[in-house]
Symmetry: C2
Subunit: 294 residues, 2 copies
């Protein structure tokens, strides 16, 4: 029973090296590098786990079911990436910023291009449903200088936890979406509704895995932002409600401490009327700091 | 910008720990352990690769296509496991044996239960196609003692590289399959045909990946064996033809040095006639050593 690797034949000890050596002729250097890393970690993981043949086949079946759950409307592999923290990690790697700059979080699947461009103060809630929310803040650079003309693309789920695209015919088109621009002082403000937590799709293999892991499928309440301004790094992020019951168990790990807003209930009929909101209403301030684009 | 992990919120540095901490309530300890290892290696791999968002999405699309290629007849994720050497690694982990015992290799997808039980010397080639092959050897224990009544379940592709189940209606049922039993001296012998290399299915995403990696989709010529005897560890293995053009590039890494047979062409009309074969014919000896079942 030879264990020689000179032959290039498979041995348990040198398994990853044998596989990687076979990819020597790959034309694309990046692919070759990626496959080396994947192969090495995959073999290390298998060696640590020492799966039985039955466990290996369970893994094959899980991946197969995950693939079969994907269609034009459902992306179960992205969901798997999300609940394993991989989507957040890839986002973090691609959005490293200096301390003090607003942090990124995942984009999520519900962004629409071409939301209505609105004036500051406008109401993105187009069906009057939900508890009124007043959102305001500033866009500044890392030196505290206001940024004028920054574009704030915002979207959110309604108070039942659904985005417009999930409830076509129930919610008006572009409900709870709008694009705003920061003013001469870097300020922006708009009206929306208090968001609510909602589950990620959990009737597939990924939801089943979450259940087996003792995890909940919920994302805590949040508003989405994409903030862009010429010369600055575009920020894709959320503000989260720290009082949400799932704030410490976001199924996709999107929460960062710097992204916790402070949702304050205001009971002030005069101010409400000034803002064009019913009393009482919720107030949240979210100030954004953009880093120079490098 | 807080980097605290006490909160349990996601940070790039502690990404794997944050995800794993979330699985603390998993009921099944084995699942919890497996997920810890997978999460750790997955995050380590992502941190080494530093994929762009586009590369991450390419990976998502590759997995999705692999899933969509799976049906009742095609298992593209097993194929992926095969070409990454994972199937061989899992086999190796589950079939560790003392030095001197016959080594395992992958089962492959073409084994059928209930092949015909045949007398030693029988011909598993039921359509007379291909170059005749005489296979013989012994089954012994680690002390060299012959094992009587060992069951040898053998199967092979024909000289076009197809198994009977891949050519229903073209090859007879159970063509090139048979079950033999070792005799009082531990000997077994049968007639078959010289096998030929064949490609794994390569018209899907896994075949495309192989192409990008500069690899061929071929498996070198081999005969399959499952050898079992009461009290001994069952061996699932192949014998390979060392002269096959793909012997050093088996797409699934199944080749081990100890499994290389010696296929000798014999030109001896008398012996051929004795064995019931056309002259010339091929001869291969494959001696099997079984380890005690522990």
């Amino acid at each position: 029973m030879s264990k020689s690797t000179a032959s290039g034949y498979f041995t348990e000890a040198d398994s990853a090296e044998v596989v990687t050596a076979r990819n020597a002729d790959a034309q694309n250097e990046r692919l070759k590098q990626v496959m080396e890393v994947i192969t090495r970690h995959l073999h290390e993981a298998v060696k640590e786990i020492e799966p039985t043949q039955e466990e290996w086949f369970e893994a094959i079946q899980f991946l197969t079911k995950t693939g079969h759950t994907c269609d034009d409307w459902r992306q179960e592999f992205i969901l798997l990436s999300d609940v394993l923290g991989v989507s957040m990690l890839v986002d973090a790697i691609n959005a490293r910023r200096p301390t003090g700059a607003t942090e990124n979080t995942v984009l999520g699947p519900f962004h629409l291009p071409n939301a209505p461009v609105m004036e500051n103060g406008g109401n993105i809630c187009r069906d009057g449903k939900g508890e009124p929310l007043y959102v305001h803040g500033t866009v500044k650079d890392l030196n505290g200088k206001p940024i004028t003309g920054a574009r704030l693309d915002v979207w959110q789920a309604n108070d039942d936890g659904f985005y417009d695209v999930q409830q076509k015919g129930i919610q008006p088109d572009f409900n709870l979406r709008g694009i705003f621009e920061s003013d001469a002082d870097g300020a922006y403000w708009f009206r929306g509704v208090k968001p609510r937590y909602y589950p990620i799709p959990h009737d597939g293999p990924v939801g089943q895995l979450l259940g087996q892991l003792g995890r909940m499928p919920y994302r805590p309440a949040h508003l989405h932002y994409i903030i862009s301004a010429e010369g600055y790094d575009t920020v894709t992020t959320h503000i989260f409600d720290p009082d949400d019951p799932y704030i410490n168990s976001d199924a996709v790990f999107g929460v960062k401490e710097s992204l916790l807003g402070k949702f304050i209930q205001v009971d002030d009929p005069e101010k409400a009327s000034q803002l064009g909101l019913e009393n009482p209403y919720w107030d949240v301030e979210f100030n954004i700091t953009l880093a120079d684009h490098t």
